[in-house]
Symmetry: C2
Subunit: 160 residues, 2 copies
């Protein structure tokens, strides 16, 4: 459940490659394709969307390719994914384009909403720079054993 489409996944990996060349000239689609095992044609589609959003720029002609428009620590994973897959919307009720008829009285609306906000917070806090530095692993303060539903209320608190 809660799968990300390949477009989002490939997009992040492509952005990683472009970021890895930050300050050292453009990266071509072909390079990305080879390093990340994604077809050139598919990458074109993906990078096109990302370019239109302004987070990368293209350089045409020989020696061309793609470069980041901003520093790697100012491009978040959340931003990339939102561009490629739309906003986080656990349910269609939370999708700005759809909306919900029976919000009031709905017993789960707030549940999905707060989960979505947490996910978005996570994705927005993680940047390309983190990936470059290998900071994918997030610190978990206490490792819990024998997790029991309802017994660990603290897990519901998200600290900022």
């Amino acid at each position: 459940m809660l799968k990300l489409s390949t477009k989002g996944q490939y997009g992040v990996r492509a952005m990683f490659e472009i970021a890895s060349g930050y300050g050292r000239g453009p990266i071509t689609i072909r390079e990305i394709s080879e390093k990340q095992d994604v077809s050139v044609a598919y990458l074109e589609q993906i990078l096109n969307k990302l370019r239109k959003s302004g987070m990368i720029q293209s350089v045409k002609g020989p020696g061309g390719g793609y470069v980041l428009s901003r520093e790697p620590d100012r491009i978040s994973i959340g931003e990339i994914l939102r561009e490629l897959e739309g906003p986080v919307a656990i349910t269609s009720c939370l999708d700005p384009k759809e909306g919900c008829l029976r919000v009031e009285g709905c017993v789960t609306h707030l549940l999905w909403k707060s989960l979505g906000e947490k996910i978005e917070g996570f994705l927005d806090a993680m940047t390309l720079d983190d990936l470059l530095k290998g900071n994918q692993v997030i610190e978990i303060k206490k490792k819990e054993k024998n997790r029991q539903p309802g017994k660990n209320r603290a897990a519901l608190t998200f600290v900022r």
Copy 2:
């Protein structure tokens, strides 16, 4: 992005209705259907899966319906969703049934993995009892203004 299927959503809402009758006899599919606006036929499919997993039991014949097999505070939302939609697997690489060929060297594997673990932690900590009591809203300690990628490292810490 990251949508939950209707099966999962309806499943949780159906379980809420069954939980609301806990200790007061069975709830029929028809009742759930009316209160939650889901067709009887579709609910049958959903409840069947949940029954096979053991978290609810059915009572046949007149006056029958469904009852919880455990107290509402011992059935988590995560458990319900896992039964209906399979394990949390942001990417197919994280899906136990699929697996990944290029885990080592993959720059995003751990990212998706840790996100998945956080989501699962959230869902496993939330129970039917919380829904019954209206505890869907999760405390967020500090509300952040002008969120900037990379500037709020603390957001990456999940406290237990």
